[in-house]
Symmetry: C2
Subunit: 195 residues, 2 copies
């Protein structure tokens, strides 16, 4: 039996990304769960930010941002970037996270996050008091230590150990065990006629 729960902003699960705008000298960062890839032509990320966010103003300054994936070991730092206010606090100084120059855009990447994405803003769409920010992915970086093979581009999930955010419950979780391979598990339903 299903129960109606009302029009809540819930989807399970969500990623945990440290989004950074501004410059190497003056970065501004925020914990973001409302973010995902939405296109591959070109590779594009979409995220929803409250219009009032300092980080959004910093993103507009250089028309760029970075998306940095922390490991579960950095959950306290990540959470701090969500609960503190960049107008009153130097979030990087207080948490001990640091930034470095990326390769393609002015917004810097977070050194302590093992996976980093550089984005150039291509569009902003207003949705009430939020702004949907669309960014073209112009480069990605990974710590060599989390790659499956040093010469490849696949990331080992056990080594990246990314966080997952659970809306409503307001909790962070780890990834669990592998269930199945995509584009494979469903083949048992493919009828011989359709092949």
């Amino acid at each position: 039996m299903k129960k109606r729960l009302g029009p809540a902003e819930r989807l399970y699960p969500m990623p945990c990304a440290l989004v950074v705008g501004g410059t190497l000298e003056k970065p501004a960062g925020l914990a973001v769960a409302w973010i995902n890839v939405v296109s591959s032509t070109p590779p594009t990320i979409a995220m929803g930010l409250r219009e009032s966010r300092n980080t959004l103003a910093a993103i507009r300054e250089t028309n760029s941002f970075t998306v940095n994936i922390p490991s579960a070991a950095r959950v306290d730092e990540f959470d701090f970037f969500g609960l503190s206010n960049g107008a009153k606090t130097d979030k990087f100084a207080e948490s001990g996270l640091s930034v470095a120059r990326g390769a393609m855009v002015e917004a810097p990447i977070v050194v302590e996050c093992p996976f980093n994405i550089e984005c150039r803003v291509i569009q902003e769409v207003p949705i009430g008091s939020y702004r949907l920010v669309l960014g073209e992915i112009v480069e990605t970086h990974a710590d060599v230590s989390i790659l499956k093979e040093p010469e490849g581009d696949l990331v080992n999930m056990e080594l990246l150990d990314p966080l997952v955010y659970i809306a409503g419950m307001r909790e962070y979780r780890r990834l669990g065990e592998k269930v199945a391979d995509a584009y494979t598990a469903g083949k048992r339903f493919v009828s011989p006629d359709a092949q």
Copy 2:
């Protein structure tokens, strides 16, 4: 040491949602990982769909869609909705999944998915050969059996047991254990002055 991996459409992790358009009599569904909440004013979902998708045409017919979260036990069915072609296959008949009328929109919900979101399309944004579809969340439903408390609106993650998609590796995973509480773990970095 960081390594540049190029402008790839990777973000870790992504959700696994069965998106359904069309009608109760003629539903069209698709496995979607490029989806998330992006606003709460009003509650809004954004997702990236290839322009050529049957499901996008079905969504346009009724200007509505539903987002249905399968449990890990339905991974084969979910994967089948991703690898098969709705123009050639009746995905619901082949996989055994079924639809029911929702409460607010014409697009039906998936009975076997324990969490369901009804959305009304508010905007489409073209990004190359993809369309970013924005939908206002007008209702959510959960199986009573997955609620933390029967009278509440919180979903028990162990009972929902949602899938997580890992891009690049092309694998489905479960959620792992809780790491920390959000809006709490980061308080240790808050200096007394800032409070």
